[in-house]
């Protein structure tokens, strides 16, 4: 193929622009980490969560989450025996500093840790107008910060309220499942600091991961299953009142 100098001068910048877009949407990985060998999710054991807020603090420190915004948070549910449909929920400052003692003696109280559900059919990915939000081959929903327009459509589309606009970058932000850690063989910051093991990182493609034994022997649930997002954060002991 003969390319003239003029054609080359046109082609080179075009290729540079195209390459930038090829690279956009490719998550950063570590050497020896093969994305196709993993399919990440998480297990939340509600029966073990004590609402200490360590996970929220750990996440905020690890990921420099601005005050007032949350990649993960903890909700406290109070449900009366007769009112499954009308739970009372609080989450002061995302449960970061724990919870005050409950006001009511009756009914039941329990804690529900929340975070991005890493949906395989994620509504936030679907609506992103430029594809800045994407599902990586190892099943983590990520946002390319250099590509996001800040249109906020993804924030509207997330049924779980897990996204926010970072006021520092003016781009969409959310839980990355500590992608910078898990690709190096570490667990997430929230799992690392959880004192009771209520949160467990799960690799659904690794046959040796204990998640498989757990899923075989326990009934688990995902949040808002009717929305068919194929969420990969599994809850054990989830009460029907949880939204």
């Amino acid at each position: 193929m003969n390319i003239t100098r003029r054609q080359l001068l046109i082609l080179l910048p075009a290729a540079a622009i195209a390459w930038e877009h090829v690279l956009a949407g490719t998550p950063e990985t570590s050497p020896n980490y093969n994305m196709t060998d993993h399919w990440w999710g998480m297990l939340m054991d509600i029966t073990k969560c004590i609402g200490c807020g360590s996970c929220v603090r750990g996440c905020q420190m690890e990921n420099q989450v601005p005050d007032g915004y949350f990649r993960t948070w903890v909700e406290r549910y109070h449900v009366e025996d007769w009112a499954l449909e009308y739970p009372k929920v609080d989450s002061p400052d995302g449960g970061k500093n724990g919870f005050p003692p409950p006001k009511e003696d009756s009914g039941k109280n329990f804690f529900v840790p929340k975070m991005c559900n890493q949906c395989a059919d994620s509504p936030c990915t679907q609506v992103c107008p430029v594809g800045a939000t994407f599902v990586s081959p190892d099943g983590v929903v990520l946002v390319d910060q250099k590509y996001c327009l800040g249109c906020r459509y993804c924030v509207q589309a997330c049924p779980y309220g897990c996204r926010f606009i970072n006021p520092r970058t003016e781009t969409a932000n959310k839980c990355t499942l500590c992608y910078h850690r898990i690709t190096k063989g570490l667990t997430t910051a929230c799992c690392e600091v959880c004192p009771t093991g209520a949160r467990q990182l799960a690799d659904l493609r690794n046959p040796k991961d204990p998640i498989h034994d757990f899923l075989k022997t326990h009934s688990v649930q995902v949040l808002k299953p009717h929305l068919a997002t194929r969420a990969k954060v599994f809850y054990y002991g989830l009460d029907g009142s949880v939204r």
């Binding site: 915004y69 430029v130 996001c148 800040g150 049924p159 779980y160 003016e170 929305l227």
Partner: protein, 396 residues
């Protein structure tokens, strides 16, 4: 700034994501689509009575269309990246198509139709004017000064064809805006297959109302008599379209009430509290029932010309208030309740801010300024064209 919250919101939901600027966007595009559809009544469906509004409707559509993307651009966290929607659109995103739908409608439909319709006048004025105006008109001819009978016939045929293509394009433009909201399954206030249809008919209502008002206003400013047959016909179309729009909105409402799904209790509470003024009072009573009642009155009671015109002005103004309130209730209302259905937040609108009230006011006034320039440049009045053509002919 502490935002008042009632009940429980997911912590990231407290702050509203889409502001008054996103309310303006569907309002402005609605006016565009509606004005164009009114213009097509004359061009395609040969409703001669509305002819005096034809060119004004086209120019109105153009003025509002030019401003329509500005609120979106101002709202983006990174407006400098907005061109990425053209370079790498995400095929599964409803929003990704915005740029293409907008450009198609602006360039392939509206600008082309206006140019073809005005081409004869532009050529005549490029010869009859002097100074900078001459330069502007010469540029607008795009180098084509052939206004022979045959050339004008081709213009007419091409213009007709573009209008025929333009009608589904106008439907696409605004139906698509409705789809952006209607396809968000996470939000029960928005998620409805009726949303694009409701948006479309409300667009037609607002577009017809604004052209009717502008026509009457411009006649008054120019101290020329209003063509009563024309405004009667436009008002009749406004009335019919409004009834369809209202029926669709009521169908949606009745369906929600009867179905009463998991979100109903929360949404019902919101309508009776935080949205009561904007939804029940402004949108439904003042902005829909009242103008429909007034327009119905002109159909069943014999009123004088002046009484009818005054009724149309009141009905038109109320219609615009009602449609703006509808956009407000969709966009802002859809963010006031928690997706947990357990709480409500508050919308705090700043005044002098990027997405504040002042910006919204400026963006609302801007289309009228553009329209004023367009009307000066391309007068939509038949008699003035006649004068211009006569002057040009005598100059030749």
């Amino acid at each position: 700034m502490q935002i008042p919250v009632e009940g429980f919101m997911y912590p990231n939901e407290v702050e509203l994501q889409w502001s008054v600027l996103i309310v303006l966007y569907p309002f402005l595009t609605g006016l565009v689509a509606g004005a164009f559809i009114l213009a097509s009544l004359e061009r395609v469906f040969r409703v001669d009575a509305v002819k005096p509004t034809y060119r004004l409707a086209l120019l109105t559509a153009l003025a509002f269309l030019i401003v329509a993307p500005l609120p979106l651009q101002l709202h983006l966290g990174h407006p400098e990246r907005s061109f990425e929607m053209y370079l790498t659109p995400h095929s599964s995103s409803a929003m990704a198509m915005f740029g293409f739908v907008y450009l198609w409608y602006l360039l392939a439909v509206l600008v082309l139709e206006i140019w073809l319709d005005y081409r004869r006048d532009i050529v005549v004025m490029s010869q009859s004017t002097t100074g900078w105006r001459r330069l502007v008109y010469r540029a607008l001819t795009l180098g084509s000064s052939n206004i022979s009978e045959r050339a004008l016939q081709i213009d007419e045929r091409a213009g007709w064809l573009i209008t025929v293509i333009g009608i589904p394009s106008a439907f696409l433009l605004h139906g698509y805006v409705g789809f952006i909201f209607g396809s968000v399954k996470a939000n029960p206030w928005w998620s409805s297959p009726l949303m694009p249809v409701v948006f479309l008919f409300s667009a037609m209502v607002s577009g017809i109302a604004i052209v009717m008002l502008l026509y009457m206003l411009m006649c008054r400013v120019r101290r020329e008599p209003i063509d009563v047959r024309c405004v009667d016909t436009v008002a009749k179309y406004l009335f019919y379209t409004f009834i369809i729009d209202f029926s669709l909105e009521m169908l949606d409402l009745i369906h929600r009430i009867y179905e009463a799904d998991e979100s109903f209790r929360s949404l019902d509470f919101m309508v009776h509290t935080r949205l009561y003024l904007s939804q029940v009072v402004l949108q439904i009573l003042l902005g829909t029932v009242a103008p429909i009642g007034l327009l119905a009155l002109t159909q069943v009671i014999k009123l004088t010309d002046m009484q009818r015109q005054r009724t149309y002005v009141v009905a038109g103004c109320l219609t615009l208030i009602g449609i703006f309130a509808m956009r407000w209730n969709v966009v802002i209302g859809g963010q006031l309740f928690s997706k947990s259905f357990l709480g409500y937040t508050t919308y705090k609108m700043g005044f002098v801010a990027r997405e504040g009230l002042l910006t919204a006011i400026i963006l609302t006034i801007l289309p009228f300024v553009i329209l004023w320039v367009l009307v000066k440049l391309l007068p939509p009045w038949p008699e003035r064209q006649a004068v211009a053509v006569t002057v040009a002919a005598s100059a030749d």
